[in-house]
């Protein structure tokens, strides 16, 4: 069935309407931003967000049941409107992807149109509303009458609707509290993302922070500015005791590698003294001209300066700071009802306590392995279950798409 002339004209009109509608929404949003002097939208929290959400759903369902024959509603639940809603939304996301956001020094025009803080701007809000309306009406239209054939469609579309709906409304209820705690210290408060102090319904004591690091790496660099020369293979190799490596015509031997060392007038010696550093004793001989250089390299620390081995006028050998393999905090958490929990908090393994999730976020990287500070993030996200429902629906829908594509 080819598009007939009538159908083509109707299509064209629907797309024109879609384009104009999107443009209208964008401009309205920008106007609202202008009026509010670029302050943007706030995020509603409980109970306001639930009230808004429920009202929206009720209005959608009401309009779908009683006004479904209205042309405007039919248009809203058809593909051209979907495409224009997705396109408007994509346009805003594109700007987010191209320009740094939330810069307080952004030029006025970007701030007053909302483009410098799109995430909480009126254009984004209105675009989201357009998307939720068009998508919501589409889902309602396709679910009555309900047939099993539509299950793939419904999973994908309703799932996405739930994710956008819960993500937008739930954002106001999301709490992120950053806790910085030193060994033997107990905290029950932290900083939230608006830099306000926030109290938590439990206390947290850092018993011990441990970190395990990879061996540092040997780096072949320009002596002048410590930069990496381009096009030289092997110029960054992990250091191991007794290792032999060839870099740019130099044969380098790691005669000694001390993961924990301290420096005196004769060089480095093994030491588990606090603030010790990794060090390596190298012998480098040039294959072409037979020059030999011997000496220590070390990445240093916040206390000790780094040590380099100069090979010639242009290049030197250096040691990089070791990178973490794992790090974790042994913590004791006491809840309001007197329950004591001892736990080893690791990255990728959060702890759930009193409705909050605790995450091992980072540590004092300047002190490296001597860090006595652990940075833990406590997060409360009451809408998470709804988001997960939406995500699982879309995943099921993706599997369905996979099936469809097979024929």
């Amino acid at each position: 069935m080819q598009d007939t002339h009538v159908a083509k004209r109707r299509n064209r009109k629907e797309y024109e309407q879609g384009f104009l509608f999107s443009l209208g929404i964008l401009l309205t949003g920008m106007l609202l931003e202008w009026i509010t002097k670029g302050k943007g939208t706030g995020l509603p929290s409980w109970p306001l967000n639930v009230q808004i959400g429920l009202s929206f759903i009720i209005i959608l369902v009401f309009v779908h049941i009683y006004y479904r024959e209205l042309n405007a509603l039919k248009w809203l639940s058809r593909v051209p409107a979907a495409i224009s809603a997705i396109s408007l939304f994509s346009f805003l996301v594109l700007i987010m992807g191209l320009s740094p956001q939330n810069d307080p020094d952004a030029p006025g025009i970007l701030r007053y149109t909302g483009l410098s803080h799109i995430r909480n701007s009126f254009p984004f809000l209105l675009s989201g509303l357009y998307l939720l309306t068009s998508l919501g009406l589409t889902v309602l239209r396709r679910s009555s009458p309900f047939t099993l054939k539509n299950i793939g469609f419904l999973l994908n579309h309703a799932g996405l609707w739930i994710i956008v709906f819960a993500g937008s409304l739930g954002a106001g209820d999301l709490q992120r509290v950053n806790l910085r705690v030193r060994e033997s210290e107990t905290v029950w408060y932290g900083m939230d993302d608006r830099h306000q102090i926030k109290e938590l319904p439990f206390t947290l004591k850092l018993v011990d922070f441990t970190i395990d690091q990879y061996n540092p790496k040997l780096a072949y660099i320009r002596s002048e500015d410590l930069s990496f020369p381009k096009g030289i293979a092997n110029n960054l190799v992990q250091v191991e005791q007794g290792m032999d490596v060839e870099i740019d015509g130099w044969k380098i031997e790691v005669r000694e590698f001390l993961p924990d060392a301290f420096k005196d007038s004769t060089g480095f010696f093994a030491s588990t003294e606090r603030m010790s550093v990794p060090a390596a004793y190298l012998n480098a001989s040039n294959i072409l001209n037979g020059n030999e250089e011997t000496g220590w390299i070390s990445c240093g620390s916040f206390m000790l300066p780094p040590e380099f081995l100069k090979l010639d006028d242009t290049y030197s050998l250096a040691m990089t700071n070791p990178e973490p393999r794992t790090y974790s905090s042994l913590i004791e958490v006491m809840t309001k009802d007197g329950k004591l929990i001892e736990h080893d908090l690791q990255v990728n393994k959060p702890l759930k306590v009193s409705g909050w999730n605790l995450y091992q976020l980072s540590y004092d990287e300047r002190m490296g392995k001597w860090s006595e500070l652990s940075v833990i993030e406590a997060i409360k996200d009451p809408w998470l279950a709804v988001i997960y429902l939406g995500i699982f629906m879309v995943l099921a829908g993706a599997v369905y798409m996979f099936w469809l594509g097979k024929n």
Binding site: Q2, D3, N11, R78, V79, P80, A82, I83, I86, S87, F89, S90, V93, L94, M96, G97, L98, S99, P100, Q101, R119, G167, L174, R176, Y214, K217, A233, N234, N235, L236, V237, Q238, E323, P324, R325, T326, Y327, Q346, V347, N348, K349, P350, N357, Y359, L361, E377, I379, D381, L384, I387, I391, V394, L395, G397, A398, V399, M401, F402, L404, G405
Partner: protein
């Protein structure tokens, strides 16, 4: 890779064709063995750097090409996918990596492998669909359009999109475990989302206007540009400097 030449020769004789298929399969197996050895040597999944992900691309592309050839006998498709794999191979040979064992704690997660693999597979499928789109546009503009071409593109996009969706959502699950929130509008996430939206528009265009082939093909090409930006273009964008996904 010499299998491609033989497959073309196979237009005439079925022995050449079978030899071609075997050679291609052998090439795939050898690539697979290389990746396994690398994995064991590095003591971590080789999926962190751009070069390592290119390796997987050059593994999956011939797989897809071969499967589609065996199922639907698209010769030119097999040739294209192996050609693309060659390009990645050459790039990798020209930029030898320092294969380093370091894997930061955030990446040590059971989600690391599924998230990356699913994305690479999805990107491979969508990349191939773009090749099809280019061929389709060429046929369109020279008046020799064959509807099987756009149907092939559709199949590839449906498969690829399913993987893209899974990749996006796996990433969200992992982000929740690692940094506590499933979505932070990080540049990589933003561009991955844009890619997802781009192909979403394509799918809707195809659904509603199955005969507007030209629009669809151009949309496919545009969506791929967005995909490329999400894949490595962000390493060059100023807004992406602070992304948690930029590892080099």
């Amino acid at each position: 890779m010499a299998g491609v030449l033989l497959v073309y020769a196979g237009k005439r004789g079925s022995f050449a064709e079978n030899a071609g298929i075997l050679l291609t399969a052998a090439g795939i197996v050898i690539t697979g063995i290389f990746i396994s050895i690398l994995w064991v040597h590095m003591e971590r999944p080789p999926m962190r750097t751009l070069g390592e992900t290119r390796l997987w691309y050059l593994f999956f592309l011939p797989v897809i090409g071969l499967v589609f050839y065996l199922r639907w006998r698209y010769k030119w498709f097999l040739a294209y996918s192996i050609f693309m794999a060659w390009i990645f191979l050459l790039i990798n040979l020209k930029h030898p990596e320092t294969y380093d064992k370091v894997l930061m704690p955030a990446l040590q997660s059971p989600w690391f492998v599924p998230h990356v693999v699913v994305y690479i597979f999805g990107y491979a499928l969508l990349g191939v669909s773009t090749l099809v789109a280019v061929k389709g546009l060429y046929l369109e503009y020279s008046g020799k359009m064959d509807s099987s071409v756009i149907r092939l593109a559709d199949n590839l996009v449906y498969f690829g999109y399913a993987f893209l969706t899974m990749g996006l959502l796996f990433g969200a699950f992992w982000a929740k475990k690692a940094w506590g929130h499933y979505w932070t509008w990080d540049p990589k996430e933003t561009w991955a989302f844009l890619t997802w939206l781009g192909y979403l528009v394509y799918i809707h265009l195809r659904y509603r206007h199955p005969h507007r082939v030209r629009w669809a093909l151009w949309m496919l090409a545009l969506a791929f540009v967005i995909l490329l930006t999400a894949w490595f273009g962000i390493n060059y964008l100023p807004s992406a400097e602070n992304s948690v996904h930029v590892y080099g």
